[in-house]
Amino acid sequence: MGTVSNNKENNNMNSGREGIRGWLNPTRYGWERVSYWLQRLTGLFLLVYFVGHVYETSSLTNGVDAWNSMLELTQTIGGHIFLILVIGTSTFHTVNGIRLIFTESGKGLGKPGRPDYPYNPSSLNYTQKSGIWIALLLACIAMLYGGMVLFGEGG
């Protein structure tokens, strides 16, 4: 028998609640949990983008020079990569969001029935998984196209 001590335990652990760590790790629970995790991350990223976008466009009120210097930020390599991420996250968030609208209205989940071993939950069926894969695929295609436009000739 051996012992590995961990004295960093604090009183919060007594509640056993995982807190934000509970959703930060998307592994172990399948594609639906990955989709849940990505939907949140992309949502947060788009929120940051939205705030930045409002700040960027509001620079117009300071005159054309201020606007042009703000636009120059998006013409850098870092700016292009950021915009490609915006394209990818908005595509995934939209497509997966449409899937979730149907799912959370009880559509495409199958019907309740008598469960038989090995218990494959009907709510985690291939319709749902396909929806997630399609959202990921479309996000990749959109990012690829965006990259070609931004980094291509005249980009």
Binding site: Y29, Y36, G106, G113, P121
Partner: protein
């Protein structure tokens, strides 16, 4: 003796006693395993031959009572239902269920979980039937078809083991959220033709920390050991509440001894 008979795995068991303000640590034990050895068998072997003070809760040993839920190699599982050979790992880590207050070692407190379950009024409510029966001739029964039963039977198989509650990412951050178990039970009675108290339960779950906090991560259905599929019940219930999906619920016909 074959290699299989000599096989041993290392069991890492989370140890602490919050009542004594002990710091947590993992104790390691070598346990002999066979193809059919479950994690519960291994823990009982530890209690018998290595350290009798390891705290675990168990009862039926056949996935019926829901007592031995714990986090096994990072995933909420029933110890009696998880074969070590299926984990395909030489180190088995046993920890208490996440999202439950911890008492000692692998034993967690289910009070809040049961309280959420109780809040859903998990029993048939029908205002057409009196609960005060003085005369045996007043006894009634409901008639249901097999199709009527299939609508809720799956959800009535819940053994309240708490695995879905510990896997839910919303429960992890919101203690007031009823959790997948309680919400799927709300659907179980909503779908049951004998029950006609839809409005009462809708009022309970349609609030700030209620059903709308579920965003379909599906983890509850992944870990459920009885095929209850709580995620399905919750999404169907949302659809009914929004009026976007039909329930086609027929309140069952009452049959009394007098009108037989």
């Amino acid at each position: 003796m074959s290699n299989e008979e000599n096989k041993k795995v290392q069991l890492k068991v989370y140890r602490t006693n919050y009542n004594k303000d002990d710091s947590s640590h993992y104790d390691k034990f070598e346990v002999p395993v066979k193809r059919w050895t479950t994690v519960l068998d291994a823990l009982l072997h530890v209690k018998s031959y290595s350290d009798s003070s390891v705290g675990i809760r168990y009862s039926c040993r056949m996935a019926s009572c829901g007592s031995c839920g714990m986090k096994i190699n990072g995933k909420p599982s029933l110890a009696c239902y998880t074969k070590i050979s299926e984990l395909k790992d030489d180190v088995i880590v046993c920890e208490p269920l996440p999202n439950f207050p911890r008492i000692r070692d692998l034993v967690s407190d289910f009070s809040q979980f049961f309280s959420h379950h109780k809040n859903m009024k998990p029993f048939i409510q029908n205002d057409k039937v009196s609960v005060d029966i003085d005369d045996k001739s007043d006894l009634v029964e409901f008639e249901q078809t097999h199709e009527d039963v299939d609508k809720y039977l799956q959800f009535s198989y819940c053994i309240r083991c708490g695995l879905c509650y510990s896997a839910c990412p919303t429960v992890a951050t919101d203690p007031k959220f009823p959790g997948p178990q309680a919400l799927s039970q709300a659907y179980r009675y909503e779908a049951d033709g004998r029950d006609n108290s839809k409005k009462t339960r809708f009022n309970i779950i349609d609030e700030r920390h209620g059903i709308w906090r579920c965003h379909f991560a599906g983890s509850c259905s992944v870990v459920c050991p009885k095929g209850v599929d709580p995620a399905l019940g919750i999404q169907l219930l949302k659809g009914h509440m929004l009026g976007l999906s039909k329930n086609n619920k027929k309140i069952s016909t009452l049959r009394t001894k007098n009108n037989e």
